[in-house]
Symmetry: D2
Subunit: 105 residues, 4 copies
Amino acid sequence: MRAFTDERDWAKFHDPKSLILALVGEVGELAELFQWLPGDEAVQRAGVDPLRRRVGEEMADVLAYLVRLADVLDIDLAEVTKRKLESSAVRFPAADFHGEAPEKA
Amino acid sequence: MRAFTDERDWAKFHDPKSLILALVGEVGELAELFQWLPGDEAVQRAGVDPLRRRVGEEMADVLAYLVRLADVLDIDLAEVTKRKLESSAVRFPAADFHGEAPEKA
Amino acid sequence: MRAFTDERDWAKFHDPKSLILALVGEVGELAELFQWLPGDEAVQRAGVDPLRRRVGEEMADVLAYLVRLADVLDIDLAEVTKRKLESSAVRFPAADFHGEAPEKA
Amino acid sequence: MRAFTDERDWAKFHDPKSLILALVGEVGELAELFQWLPGDEAVQRAGVDPLRRRVGEEMADVLAYLVRLADVLDIDLAEVTKRKLESSAVRFPAADFHGEAPEKA
């Protein structure tokens, strides 16, 4: 993403607020692909082309902007995600939350 | 994320529509951290704790749900993102889009 | 919203990009209230307090920022929504789309 | 929105989770219209057609799904928004927050 951006001289557009709006745009496109699918058929329907391909592309766009934001903010996204997952594992002990969704995970 | 989910028997909650809503929730928390910051000070302000830590945590949550969605849909997120970036490089030739934001990138 | 904003001298924060990020934050909070509910029980569960009250509050926050954005952009939101609904009625004739979700409505 | 929906027999698609995903899709389209605009030129640029018209249409779509969700949940959106604004006025006294953005408004 950094090379892609620099080759086009687009870094000037990539302040955090703009990148988050771009991320929101891609999340919106992902949401639109699923909005009217029956919840219990979504995995199956999204498993077949052309929907499967489109879902992958929108997820890729979400990741690309997330990674770009991490670059702009000098955040090691892989590292913080590993640490966050470890802290979530402590916050939601498996024994206490087995089969129970926390109000907000 | 798969192990974390299975240990808690949470896979039953992780249909695609629910996971996208969870992703939206985390993107919303990320947006809230930046909403009132001056655009041209956002990188600097988000570079100092405690904001830096909180931004990293929200980005981690976004990534965690995106990766979990990819797992549920059996999508190789790294692979499709590489391919998407390559196709974007063709779609937006550096020479044609130098310094010019496409209407939607 | 305009009076509320002016009394607090908050208009300086309300440029469109910031307001959309604030809107995204509220949509995220709304999404979180529903994310783990079974789809076919969501209406019933959200019909009982305290969830009913919280859902109403988050929807109110979404509307408040949307109305504020319309004010900042000098857009007559009620008028454009009526016109948009009329154009959607033409675009999706009832006879052609009866019981069929358009790919994107 | 209720008449529009019933004429097309689309009520069956309009459970809360699906409507929130549709709302997210429209918020995403709104975000995309602003993502690369300089923050301090956004009002001016969005004041001129064709962008002005497109912004109005996306805002209308957001409102339409929000109103539809309120209908499905039997929530009086105008009433709860008035009450929420009153409670926000108490929560953020003008004298205490003059010119200061709350961490999250």
